[in-house]
Subunit: 379 residues, 2 copies
C-alpha cells in the first residue's frame, strides 16, 4: 500500500473519522484509524462502541491530488498519526506500508516511521440495506436534533430515555425526547412517503455528534436501518450508530389540548429574564423561579429567591396575554434550554393550571414543534 | 451609599479586579469585592493571599456616566454580583446599600436585592511609598515577563525558583528565571537611573496574571516596593503582589562565554521541526530528541525515537552553521518554549559540548536576551 495525497484534504478526512475514535476504548485496535486504499480512492474508518464513521477521499477530485501506487489496508494509531499529519512541513505527503505493518510517512525533509496494525484485526461495520431510505435536507435534520436532544435524559436509570424516539406515519416523521420532567416533540413532513417501519430510539449522544458533523452540510442526508443500527449517509461520509433497545413510553397523551392562560414573548427577551432570575435560584437548594401572570393588568412578574443570597423581581411586558390569573413555579434551566432553541422568534407559553405541564410553541407553525415542562409544587 | 453608572464601564472594572478574586480562598470576606464610593469616583478592590488588584472608575470621564448620590463602602459576593451586572437589561444600573448591608441593584424593570458584608471587615492593602519608582513602557514589561516566566520552576521544592529575580544596576534592569534545567535572562535599559535597591523575586504566577492585564495597555507601568510587596501602577489600576522570601542563587556564572559550534535558524522553522520530533519523544519514557550537527556538510539532522511507536528523522538547512561536529540530546519541551518566545525572528543556538548547557539568543540584540538549556546525557 502506497499513496501520495494533498495534506489539507487528508486532514479534513482525518478530522471527520476521529470524531468516532476514543483513546479510552477497551478494545485496543479501536484506538486506531483504518485506511483502505482501493483502485481510485482511500476510505478512512473510525469507531467506538456506539458510533462508527467512514469517509472516502476520491481520486476523481483533482484538489485531493491522490496518486495511488499500490492498494492495501492498514490500521494506524489514530491520535498520534493525525498529530503527525497536522505537523508535516509540506503540502503533500506520502504514506507507504512496509514489512511488519511498519508505515513510513514522508513530507518535505521529514520522515516518520510508525508501527501499524494488521487491518484484518479491525471489526467489520454492519451491512445495512438502503432499500427503505428516508431522505431529507441535512439542515432540517440538524434542526430536528437540536430541538429534541435537549430533553433527552442524562440519567442511566431508564436507558431508553437517553435517546430520541423517531417514528414514521406515511410521510410524517415524528421525533420525541423526554426525561420525564420535560418533553420536546418535532414533526417533519418528508417530501416522499416511505414504506419503512420506523420506530427506533437513537442515543442522544450519537445525534449530538452527528449534528456537529452537519454544520457545513448543505446537501441531503439519507437514513437507513438494520435491526439494531442506523446509518446516515451525507456527502462522502457514512455515520453509523447503535439503536437503544426497549419500548419507548407512549408520549402522545401527555400534550394538553386546551389551556387556561396564554402569554406571548419574543424568545430572547423571555430567556434573558429567566436567566437573571436563575442567578438567584441557582444559589438556593430547590432551584425554582416563579411566574405571576395577571392578564387584566397585562403584566407577568418573574421572581427568584435564595434566603442566603438575596432575591430578584422583574416585571415583563408580554406581546400577548389572555386567560386566568396564575402563579406557577418551575426549574429555570429547563425553561432556558427550551427557549434557546427558538432563536430570535416569538413563542407562546400556554398553561392549564399551577400543577399541570405547560407548553412552549413557536407562534408560527405551532403544530410542528412543541415543548412541555412540568412545574414544581412549592406549597 | 448610592450611585448610578454605565453598565459597560462598570463591567470593565469588575473584570479587572475579579482576576484577583478566588472562590477557593479560606478567608470568606476575600470571596467578596469591595466597593468604595468617595467624592467623585468608585474604587473596586479584589484580593487573594498572593495578589490584590484595585481599580478606579472616575466621575470625570463622561463615558462612565457616574452619578454619586451618597458615599460609603460595601463588600459584595464577587462572582454572583458580577454575574448579575453582566445580565442586567439596561445600559445603566443603580446600586444602593440599605439597612444591614442589604444592597439593591436596579436596571430597567429588573430589581435585585443581595446580602452584602461590612467593608470594615475587609483587610487593608499595604501602603507602599512611591519614592523610588521604576518606570517603563507596559509593552516592554510584558515582553520581559513573557521571556522569563517560561523558565520559572513549577515545583515547590525550592520555592525561590518559582519566581523571577529582578535586580537593578544603575539604569540596567535584569530579570532572570531558572528551574535549574534551563534559564532565561532579559536585560532592559531604563530611560532614567533609579536609586532604589532592587533585588527582589516576584512569584511567576503573579507576573502571568499581570501580563494578561497588560494586553491592551499602551501606557507606562510604574513599579514600587515595600519590604515584602511590589506594587504596579498602570492606567487606573494598581496591582499588588507579595514577594518571595530568600536568597536567589547567583546565576551570573552559568552563562558560557565561548562556544564550539553555532547554528542559525528562523525560529518558527526550527520550532516546527522540534515539534515534529517531540511527537515521538513524548511517547517514550525519557522524552529526549537529538540534534546531529555537521558544519562541513552544512546539515543539521533532528531525530526522535520511541521504541513502542516509531521514529522520525529530518534534515534541516540552517541559515548559518560553523564550528565542530556535535551530537547533543535535550528535552524538546524546553526548546519549544524557548523558541516560541522569539516569534518570527532569527535565532542563534551556540553549543560548547554535548554535556554543557547551550544558549539560544536572537541574532540581533543578542546581549539583551539569552536562554540556556541543559542537555540530557544519553550514553
Amino acid at each position: 500500500m502506497k499513496f501520495s495525497i494533498n495534506r489539507a484534504s487528508f486532514i479534513k478526512a482525518l478530522n471527520i473519522v476521529q470524531r468516532a475514535i476514543s483513546s479510552k476504548t477497551t478494545i485496543p485496535i479501536l484506538t486506531g484509524l483504518k485506511l483502505d486504499v482501493t483502485g481510485n480512492n482511500i476510505m478512512l474508518t473510525g469507531s467506538n462502541a456506539d458510533i462508527s464513521i467512514q469517509t472516502t477521499i476520491s481520486g476523481d477530485n483533482p484538489d485531493n491530488d491522490l496518486k495511488i501506487s499500490s492498494t492495501g489496508s492498514i490500521v494506524l494509531p489514530a491520535r498520534f498519526f493525525s498529530e503527525i499529519v497536522k505537523k508535516l512541513p509540506d503540502t503533500e505527503l506520502v504514506v507507504e506500508v512496509g514489512d511488519n505493518f511498519q508505515t513510513n510517512i514522508k513530507s518535505g525533509n521529514s520522515e516518520f516511521t510508525i508501527n501499524g496494525l494488521d487491518a484484518n484485526g479491525y471489526p467489520h461495520l454492519p451491512e445495512i440495506s438502503t432499500d427503505n431510505s428516508i431522505d431529507l435536507p441535512a439542515e432540517i435534520f440538524k434542526e430536528v436534533i437540536g430541538q429534541t436532544v435537549i430533553a433527552v435524559s442524562k440519567q442511566e436509570s431508564r436507558p431508553i430515555l437517553t435517546g430520541v424516539h423517531f417514528t414514521l406515519d406515511q410521510n410524517q416523521l415524528l421525533a420525541v425526547a423526554t426525561d420525564s420532567h420535560r418533553l420536546s416533540q418535532r414533526k417533519v413532513s418528508l417530501p416522499a412517503e416511505s414504506d419503512g417501519a420506523y420506530n427506533i430510539v437513537i442515543p442522544g449522544d450519537s445525534l449530538k455528534e452527528l449534528s456537529h458533523m452537519l454544520d457545513s452540510e448543505k446537501e441531503q442526508i439519507k437514513m437507513d436501518l438494520s435491526e439494531n443500527q442506523v446509518m446516515f449517509n451525507f456527502g462522502a461520509t457514512r455515520f453509523y450508530s447503535r439503536l437503544l433497545e426497549g419500548m419507548y413510553p407512549d408520549t402522545s397523551r401527555l400534550i394538553p389540548d386546551s389551556s387556561a392562560t396564554k402569554i406571548q414573548f419574543s424568545a430572547p427577551d423571555l430567556l434573558a429574564a429567566v436567566e437573571r432570575a436563575s442567578l438567584l435560584s441557582h444559589e438556593s437548594r430547590n432551584n425554582v423561579i416563579k411566574l405571576t401572570i395577571k392578564p387584566n393588568d397585562k403584566v407577568v412578574t418573574i421572581t427568584g429567591n435564595s434566603p442566603d443570597v438575596g432575591k430578584v423581581e422583574e416585571d415583563l411586558q408580554p406581546k400577548e396575554i389572555s386567560g386566568e390569573d396564575l402563579e406557577i413555579s418551575f426549574n429555570p434551566d429547563y425553561m432556558k434550554e427550551a427557549l434557546r432553541v427558538f432563536g430570535k422568534s416569538d413563542v407562546e407559553v400556554a398553561f392549564t393550571s399551577a400543577l399541570r405541564p405547560f407548553t412552549i410553541t413557536p407562534t408560527e407553525n405551532d403544530h410542528e414543534f412543541i415543548q412541555l415542562i412540568t412545574p414544581v409544587r412549592t406549597f
